[in-house]
Amino acid sequence: MSKKYALLVDLRKCIGCTSCQVSCKMENSVPIGHFRARVDFADTGDYPKAKRHFFPKLCNNCEEPPCVLPCPVPGATYKGEDGVVMVNRELCIGCGRCVGACPYGARFMHPHIPVKNDPAKFAKDVPEVKGKKAKDLRVVDKCDYCSHRLAQGIEEPACVRNCVGIARIFGDLNDPNSEVSKLKASVKTLDWHPEYGTKPKTPYIAPDKEALDAADGKLNG
């Protein structure tokens, strides 16, 4: 059976240090102002009952990713056999449709990686790239669970490797003995906006459900 990778976030152990956010930037050369992984903070409540929530966000690598269908170039973005939603930098023409299609804001155009594929080939159906040259367009980037590490047999994304609270657990949901499967089976987990129907693969152990609601609050600017 093929693998089904997932990344579980245990909010009981998240200490809000943002190591995941920065380790990801280090590993994947993510530009300033953009994120493959991010930690949200929310200060809620009145003194002395005040709370602060830490809410680490990353691409859900959804089972039914809404970002794939809008892509006009077959294979430029796709879901791999192991469940990871990928961008093929050779094929992407930088139209940006997938960026808007992701309700979680998990994709961005990478300012330092120019498009390689010739956009002219698609200009007829994709007005977004009409009249533009490859060098003027930028490919899309997103969390792919550090697929370059996976390709080397290192089944541990950089954010998991460095996670200070050991709050990020990565593994194969198809393997019932993997740590991620065992945790998911034994502790109640929640998805972030499951109602979008994308079947996210980032389960959260969240003793305080308010953390998920607070993640989209206006305090998080």
């Binding site: 240090c17 190591s19 950089a158 609270g165």
Partner: protein, 948 residues
């Protein structure tokens, strides 16, 4: 990454059929294309893994830096190092942006303008060293070597500089500890010869098993942790407290209590957050101890608070208890209540009587537990000594000291390093001075400005905050061999420190460094600044030397694990720009001084002895681990109990040792850099607990802890027969030999000697505990506290990845639009980082902010982001934007330590926000230097707030 359904909904029609489409295979391409697979393989490439440590931060975690083509490409935690067990925090992982920062110091410079103007010319190393050498030689001839201060700022890599300046003839060498938290360390130092008390939550620990093997133990045993003014989740120092605290909570049901006026990130994860008034930590601890003593019932399992076996391993409890209880009969002038009673503590701390009672009972009845006090509580208050002493007492009497899951003094369990490399022996050299027309002989060490000076003769960690006074008025030696000697301070060498901003009030430092004598020359004749970073103090320097960054120089980790661990901080890349390593700078300067005729400096002590930095580090390692074979399970059951252990774990395990029964030393093969490199960079010796008792008997082993009696000492100066004991003994002897002359610090609190057991005095600028300040309460209704968040220190403020983070209420994205050169990661090409000019939108980048309670803010009609002026009774003020939340005790304001008002361009983005970010230290009273050790009262201040 914000939720946005606008475009998502546009495609939602298509999504309805997503499951069906999935079956077509469109959503699941089976394999990577060959070109993609190849690209990924190349992306991982071939790296050289270097084991090093993160000296960008005091936690100094063990790191793997992956190097490609001589450049740092990846940074991960070193899995072999138990401090961080393979993890790395945001700071650690962001190292490339500091090492490759465009703002680093790149070449030596000599001042051409006035001090503070920041006008310099580029010079060669030879010119710079020549300039410094000649000045130092002149000063030594004219005023004596003691007129030179070597302030190493950062602890790491101080040894080379200490060695040079001790040999030069000045004992006045200091480091960061002097402005860190000395009052907090005081209790441990007095009572066990230690420093930092931390919970036993470092996991894994290497533990000897009954079958003789060694095993990594991951079991959490702690049931309760009380962090008072300690915020390990954000202000990292003891790194394992991050994963350990949440690990103990989730895996062992440990309860966590955080005591802090502000909802720190640690408090946000706690089971109980108590927010007292600032500066009342000792009050709370005193009330806890009194409650435990009064309510202990050995027959009621729920109230069996005290474990009286501690008396076997300690001395002086009866005297301590009597002195403590003598206060109960007194009435506090501030509230008329009996000292340390629940009502008294409730009145002063602002907590309720019930909260204090609940905490006292919880701590007394839960075992094992750890009570921890941090730099943001006793550390920053004038009377922090009292809290620190009470903290030790609370842990000891409840039976939590050095038990599994309890609290550990990490100073006396960590591995030793340094040894003779640091050159302490140079201080024993005999020198002569003319005092009152008479020639007097003594040791170099007897010239120490604090230990024998008129103010703080027990300042064993030095009083850096008093330096501005020393620059202005010189030093009066009032104790020891050179009593009566007065000398000026003429040279200040500052290395990886920024005392102009951090060493108490910046305005006082600036005034002292720029003060001139009658002929118009600077009183302080030479100011040298050595660093990788271009900090504010550099603006005032005469000479600037660029030092290799932490990734470019080699030394050893400076860490506080719960048992002996040491690791190599390897040089990962070659020094960038024209930067040089400390060993090289030491040798260059030593050679120059020798050429200029300084007979105290010899080639055999410097450049002939240390050809490389590795030679120096090997000498530092020769004393490691230097701890004793004590505790349960005995680390080395095959060797005699109580003996000192030196050598590699491997040689000790194999029995490749010599045993000196006279000196009680077991010596294996010395740890070397080479040995460390071939063992993932790290040496780990076994953990044990109850290190104060014999392994097979209920009696002290008399080898540990490191006090005068090798027992826990509740008294600090006493006689038995004709022998005198205790940590204050030598300091009181100094006073006695000086005819009873009372040092300035003690005079301030009405003491005429260092006390022999429990003592109490009030802090300053606190209208709620000290009657002298009551009159200010109405006009200055806020207490001002400080504390660092690790994204916002000098080095980290230069790192844009950390500017994208917000931390608590003192580091928030409230910037105005600005443009700055920043190091940007490059996904393609050979350079991991490139400097680019970038524009930052408003409220997109974190800056220092002023954190206050949201109801307090509403009353003043203030809202988030409003610019305010914060003013103290001394007429000093600072400006900043407010962050208001429910996570702050009403009547308290918090500003990050050195997080705003940064006026060196070398800070990069942080410099751009200097006009609207607050400088906490500008509000510190520079005359509040705590009486025992001369430490600044960083958190003893009251203020008022006005809309700007």
């Amino acid at each position: 990454m914000q939720i946005s359904r606008r475009v998502f909904l546009k495609y939602s029609g298509a999504l309805a059929g997503i499951a069906a489409l999935n079956k077509t295979g469109l959503l699941s391409l089976k394999h990577l294309s060959p070109s993609e697979a190849e690209a990924m393989q190349t992306a991982m490439g071939k790296y050289e893994v270097k084991y090093t440590a993160d000296a960008m931060c005091p936690a100094e975690c063990g790191l793997e830096m992956w190097v490609k083509d001589g450049k740092i490409a990846k940074i991960y935690g070193n899995k072999a190092v138990p401090m961080n067990a393979g993890t790395a925090c945001a700071k650690g992982a962001s190292g490339q942006q500091l090492v490759y920062s465009p703002y680093r110091l790149k070449y030596p410079m000599i001042r051409v303008g006035k001090r503070g103007e920041g006008k310099f010319k580029r010079v060669t190393w030879d010119e710079a060293i020549d300039h410094i050498g000649r000045k130092l030689s002149d000063i030594k001839k004219k005023y004596g070597a003691e007129s030179v201060i070597m302030d190493c700022g950062d602890v790491t890599d101080r040894d080379q500089y200490y060695r040079l300046f001790f040999a030069f003839g000045t004992p006045n060498c200091t480091e960061h500890g002097a402005i860190c938290d000395t009052p907090r360390r005081h209790g441990p130092k007095l009572m066990v010869g230690g420093k930092r008390w931390e919970p036993d939550i470092m996991r894994p620990q290497l533990v000897r098993q009954p079958d003789g093997s060694l095993k990594k133990d991951y079991t959490y045993r702690t049931k309760l942790i009380v962090y008072n003014g300690w915020n390990p989740f954000v202000a990292t120092r003891i790194y394992y407290e991050q994963r350990g605290t949440v690990g103990a909570q989730v895996e062992n049901g440990c309860k966590v209590v955080v005591i802090d006026p502000s909802l720190s990130n640690t408090a946000a994860r706690a089971d109980m957050w108590l927010s007292p008034r600032a500066g009342t930590d000792g009050d709370l601890f005193g009330a806890m101890l009194r409650y435990i003593l009064e309510n202990d019932n050995q027959n009621d399992p729920n109230k069996k608070y005290i474990d009286w076996s501690f008396k076997k391993y300690s001395v002086g409890w009866d005297e301590f208890e009597a002195a403590f209880k003598s206060w109960w009969a007194k009435k506090d002038p501030i509230n008329g209540l009996s000292y340390f009673s629940l009502d008294w503590a409730a009145d002063r701390t602002g907590l309720s009587r019930g909260q204090i009672e609940e905490l006292s009972h919880l701590f007394g009845s839960t075992k094992p537990a750890a009570l921890v006090w941090g730099m943001q509580s006793p550390g920053h208050h004038y009377n922090g000594y009292c809290a620190s002493i009470l903290g030790v007492a609370l842990n000891v009497v409840t039976g939590n000291f050095d038990v599994p899951g309890g609290v550990i003094d990490t100073e006396i369990t960590k591995a030793s390093k340094g040894g003779s490399a640091t050159g302490g022996f140079f201080k024993d050299r005999k020198v002569k001075r003319i005092i009152g027309g008479k020639e007097v002989e003594g040791k170099v060490g007897d010239l120490h400005m604090d230990l024998f000076g008129s103010k703080f003769p027990a300042a064993w960690d030095d009083s850096v905050a008093d330096y501005p006074n020393a620059f202005m008025e010189g030093v009066d030696i009032r104790y020891g061999a050179f009593r009566g000697h007065h000398y000026p301070i003429k040279a200040y060498v500052l290395r990886t420190g920024n005392s102009v901003v951090t060493g108490s009030a910046p305005w006082k430092w600036k005034a002292a460094i720029t003060a001139k004598d009658k002929s118009g020359n600077y009183k302080l004749e030479l100011f040298v600044f050595i660093d990788s970073l271009n900090l504010e103090s550099a603006l005032y320097a005469d000479v600037i030397l660029p030092e290799a960054s932490y990734a470019e120089r080699q030394s050893l980790s400076d860490i506080y694990p719960s048992h002996a661990v040491i690791y190599n901080r390897d040089a990962v890349i070659k020094p960038l720009h024209e930067c040089k390593k400390p060993t090289e700078i030491m040798n260059m300067l030593a050679k120059k001084l020798s050429e200029l005729g300084d007979a105290d400096i010899k080639g055999s002590d410097f450049w002939e002895k240390y050809k490389t930095e590795e030679d120096f580090v090997n000498e530092m390692l020769s004393v490691s681990p230097g701890r004793h074979n004590v505790g349960t399970p005995l680390p080395y059951p095959q060797y005699p109990e109580g003996y000192q252990i030196i050598g590699t774990p491997e040689s000790l395990e194999k029995g490749e040792v010599t045993i000196d029964h006279e000196k009680k030393v077991i010596k294996g093969k010395p740890v070397t850099v080479e040995w460390l490199r071939s063992n993932n960079g790290v040496a780990i010796w076994p953990m044990s607990w109850r290190r104060y008792k014999k392994v097979n008997a209920e009696e002290p082993n008399k080898a540990w802890p490191y006090t005068s009696t090798k027992l826990i000492e509740f008294k600090w100066d006493w006689k038995e027969g004709d022998k005198r004991f205790g940590q204050y003994k030598s300091h009181n002897e100094k006073i006695e030999k000086a005819g009873g002359e009372v040092p300035k610090g003690l005079k301030e609190i009405g003491f005429d000697r260092f006390p022999s057991t429990f003592y109490w005095f009030e802090t300053k600028w606190n209208p709620y505990t000290n009657t002298a300040y009551k009159k200010y309460a109405k006009d200055y209704p806020f207490q001002l506290i400080t504390g660092r968040v690790h994204h916002a220190m000098s080095g980290t403020q230069m790192v844009p990845w950390l500017g994208e983070i917000k931390a608590e209420g003192t580091w928030q994205p409230m910037n105005k639009e600005f443009e700055a050169d920043v190091p940007e990661a490059m996904p393609l090409g050979d350079d991991p980082m490139k400097s680019v000019k970038m524009k930052f939108k408003p409220n997109s980048y974190s800056v220092g902010t002023i954190w206050m309670n949201i109801d307090d803010a509403k009353k003043m009609r203030l809202k988030n982001g409003d610019l305010v002026v914060v003013e103290n009774p001394l007429g000093k003020s600072t400006k900043g934007k407010i962050f208001a939340s429910g996570g702050m005790r009403p009547g308290v304001i918090k500003i990050g330590f050195a997080t705003g008002g940064r006026f060196s361009e070398g800070l990069g983005p942080a410099y751009k926000s200097r006009q609207y970010t607050p400088s906490h230290n500008d509000l510190v009273d520079p005359d509040v230097l705590s009486p025992i050790m001369g430490f600044p009262g960083y958190a003893d201040m009251i203020v008022r707030v006005k809309k700007a």
